[in-house]
């Protein structure tokens, strides 16, 4: 396989240079935290030793999980590398007033504590002077102040779009509301629901929450919702007006998947168009795939050496794409082996794969007019357990000493083991795998390796069937189209980052 390609080298170099420039630009920023220009009033806060962003979020926003809010006010290269002495821009406003309030309250508490301490020490002094006992400090009575709470406004309830009812016949209803103008004293909200009968409380949420999804709504049942403000005393006297009647129902089309559907339709149209061209007799030229061109040669090598060939069809079930591609390659390998009268050893890990490959081999011998040469034992189901199967493959390699080995399908860590074991017995190895990590292992260990879509193209390529070749041509055109769409998306993302448009939505699906 030839790795060197001038065009690819230019692209790789350009990419590398660009990446280095971007990395340098990032390094050029000496300070790890810089304030962002914002409209609202802000102040600077210095990070203390041992302080984390979560600590600061609790201080300024009242919630440790709100640390990402700092990103709206600061350019932070890496939130994990915040150092003592870094200066953060923090908002002055609702949140700040809270921290101020907390600060003031704390200050008041400290002051009164000092006053109390002063009084006690005075009493101790006078007690010593007067030889009297110290009067016990009366415990201050807890005063719960329950201010009048305002109820939330604009309560809306809608059936969650693009979903269906679950097995229990329950669906989702999304309830949203707005905070009242006066949020003083509100520590949370309660969601109340009325279906059949009286209103029932569903859940209590924090004061910052303004959306709740009720996933327990019975399909077809109409509901109304009310939201209640909850004060510090846990009492919720202030309930909002009811939402409009709403019921949960299953939807017949998932709008979130519309772009997938559009893409699928476009792909299908292009594929069908090229299939039509292929059937009309037009020449279907597709690029050469060296690894597949070598298959005949590799099987031939086994025939010349008088040793068998081996085919390993991965560890996945027949419904996976890579296993299905492996079936197609196996057909060609088996065809060549029948022509050259070479034995093919096929130890299988998955029962259904065993059934398909055995049947395939039998049909190939029958079609070749030599059903008598078909040996049932050439394809053998071994074991479903992966480590045990690896041992069996090693044993088969030692026992049969195949001159050529084919690995097609889905593989995990065993790819490296197979490739090395095959190399140790001096076999020529051809591999094809969908998983990029295992592909890397196969590239290292095998003589020929199919990368990415080449695996899925293998069957069509090897059969040289005009219609299947046409689908490969369509696949190449689709790839060009996808590449152009991606370029367009990159352009839009760079030059109009805030825009929302079809291309970006399509790329995000």
């Amino acid at each position: 396989m030839k790795f060197y390609n001038p065009k690819r080298l230019v692209l790789f170099t350009a990419h590398t240079v660009l990446s280095v420039l971007i990395a340098l630009l990032a390094v050029g920023q000496t300070a790890s935290v810089t304030p962002k220009p914002v409209k609202e009033p802000t102040q600077m806060s210095t990070v203390q030793q041992g302080q984390t962003l979560a600590d600061l979020a609790e201080l300024y926003f009242g919630d440790r999980r709100s640390y990402k809010k700092f990103l709206a006010y600061n350019n932070i290269a890496d939130i994990n590398t915040l150092k003592p002495g870094d200066r953060l821009q923090v908002p002055i406003g609702k949140e700040e007033s809270r921290s101020d309030r907390v600060g003031k309250e704390t200050e008041q508490q400290v002051k009164s504590a000092f006053q109390e301490k002063e009084e006690v020490s005075q009493q101790v002094k006078s007690a010593f002077q007067e030889q009297k006992s110290i009067p016990a400090q009366p415990a201050p009575e807890e005063q719960i102040d329950s201010p009048e709470l305002s109820p939330p406004v604009e309560v809306k309830a809608i059936d969650v779009p693009n979903d269906g009812l679950n097995k229990a016949g329950k669906g989702s209803i999304k309830v949203s509301w707005s905070q009242p103008d006066d949020t003083e004293g509100i520590i949370g909200y309660e969601i109340w629901r009325q279906g059949e009968g009286d209103f029932k409380k569903l859940k209590k949420v924090s004061a910052k929450t303004q959306v709740f999804t009720d996933k327990t709504a019975l399909g077809g049942q109409s509901y109304v919702y009310q939201i209640a403000s909850v004060g510090a005393d846990g009492i919720s006297p202030a309930r909002s007006e009811s939402s409009k009647l709403v019921s949960a129902k299953g939807n017949w089309f998932d709008l979130d998947k519309r772009y997938v559907l559009i893409t699928l339709i476009i792909f299908s149209i292009i594929t069908l168009y090229y299939m039509d061209l292929g059937m009309s007799g037009k020449d279907m030229f597709i690029r050469r795939l060296p690894a597949l061109d070598r298959i005949e040669e590799v099987v031939g090598r086994a025939a010349e050496m008088g040793r068998p060939a081996m085919f390993v069809a991965g560890n996945d079930t027949p419904d996976s794409g890579s296993t299905m591609a492996a079936f197609a390659v196996f057909e060609s390998v088996a065809n060549y082996s029948v022509v050259t009268q070479t034995e093919v050893v096929v130890p299988v890990q998955v029962p259904l794969v065993d059934v398909v490959l055995r049947s395939s081999l039998r049909n190939i011998f029958t079609l070749a007019g030599r059903p008598d040469l078909f040996n049932e034992d050439e394809v053998s189901y071994e074991v479903d357990n992966q480590p045990a199967y690896i041992g069996i493959i090693g044993d088969s390699m030692e026992r049969h000493s195949p001159a050529s080995i084919f690995y097609f399908g889905d593989f995990t860590y065993e790819s490296m083991v197979y490739a090395e074991m095959g190399n140790n017995i001096g076999a020529v190895q051809v591999a094809g795998c969908e998983n990029p990590k295992q592909t890397a292992f196969f590239i290292v260990g095998c003589d020929y390796c199919l990368i990415g879509e080449e695996l899925f193209a293998a069957g069509a390529y090897l059969k040289r069937d005009v219609i299947q070749m046409a689908t490969l041509l369509a696949q190449d055109r689709i790839k060009i189209l996808a590449f152009l769409v991606m370029l367009l998306g990159i352009g839009i993302a760079i030059f109009q980052p805030d825009s929302s448009n079809f291309v970006l939505d399509l790329l995000k699906f």
Partner: protein
């Protein structure tokens, strides 16, 4: 017809599954559940049937032929029989239940009791056991309760076969005052209790076989990967040309950074620097280089393969759906 029928069935099923992907309605869940839970399982079970037959045939033939290493076939066949036997033994031992039976007087109002009711029985010490009514015979005036105790719980419960005094409660209301009741320890497996049998894979003998034989062998095989990676790395990292040189350099950086010793030595040489750029280029240089190699060139190549693979998969699926790709038929 032999080819056309499966192809038509496959195309229709593909189409159905594609359509259900876009329909969130509960109807599509029913269809998917039908295909996945019933059709697919049925095919899978049939596949296992063929596989068992294939394994047995292969090893018996090897035994008959008495070829090289035929002894391993004996081991394989013994394992083939022993492992299912452990499941069988576990299930026979585990599928036991305690049945408590009593005869009630004609004055008892049985209107509040019915079959499958959840009830409790309480012994003279006040200890209660949950159970379910499995038989309510009004003619013989007999109630039979199956206690919710599994094989190992039966021993620890302290209940033994024989007649003891219990009272029967439903919803914590006493239905039957203290009566002599007959306790029987029955084996459901041989009694043909059918639906009462629960198949368990974690019985003692199964667990023993797994922990002492299967698991160590699996781990040994997995550990071998380390050696194979070493030998593959040795072959791959030989500098034969420019590309191999780049590969060697990249591999070396990644290996060095991932080794704890390198960080120790590096941090010992280059202690904390003053500025961020000094830290980036000197102290964290190796780590940054490794991250960049993995994220930029490695990540780009990986994404390229993934995108290409996804497109290839779509086209292959279309070929299967349109009925042009038929390799899966065998």
């Amino acid at each position: 017809m032999q080819v056309a029928l499966p192809v038509i069935l496959c195309s229709l099923t593909c189409l159905l599954l594609v359509v259900t992907h876009f329909i969130p309605h509960e109807f599509s869940k029913v269809v998917l559940a039908e295909v996945k839970d019933n059709w697919y399982k049925l095919i899978k079970v049939a596949g296992f049937g063929f596989a068992i037959f294939s394994v047995l045939r292969t090893h018996i033939r090897r035994l008959q032929a008495q070829g090289t290493d035929w002894q391993y076939s004996v081991v394989a066949l013994v394992c083939f029989l022993v492992f299912p036997m452990t499941y069988l033994i576990d299930n026979i031992l585990e599928n036991r239940a305690l049945f408590v039976t009593t005869t009630y007087s004609s004055s008892l109002d049985t209107g509040m009791l019915s079959n499958k009711d959840k009830v409790k029985i309480e012994n003279t010490d006040g200890k209660t056991y949950s159970g379910q009514i499995v038989k309510l015979d009004s003619k013989k005036r007999q109630i039979s309760v199956k206690l919710s105790l599994t094989g190992s719980q039966i021993k620890s419960s302290g209940l033994k076969s024989g007649t003891q005094s219990f009272r029967l409660l439903k919803n914590d209301v006493v239905v039957l005052e203290k009566e002599p009741m007959k306790v029987e320890n029955k084996n459901l497996f041989f009694q043909g209790a059918g639906r009462s049998i629960s198949i368990k894979g974690d019985g003692k003998s199964t667990e023993w076989v797994y922990n002492t034989i299967v698991s160590p062998l699996d781990t040994t095989m997995f550990a071998l990967v380390a050696f194979y990676i070493c030998s593959a790395a040795y072959r791959s990292f030989r500098v034969r040309n420019f590309e191999a040189g780049v590969l060697l350099f990249t591999g070396l950086v990644v290996i060095l950074v991932n080794a704890p010793l390198t960080n120790l030595v590096w941090n010992g040489i280059f202690t904390a620097k003053k500025t961020a750029s000094q830290q980036f280029f000197v102290q964290d240089a190796l780590i940054n280089l490794k991250d960049w190699l993995l994220a930029v060139p490695g990540g780009s190549a990986g994404r390229g393969i993934l995108i290409g693979g996804a497109l290839g998969l779509i086209t292959q699926s279309l070929r299967v759906m349109f009925g042009i790709e038929r390799s899966w038929l065998g």
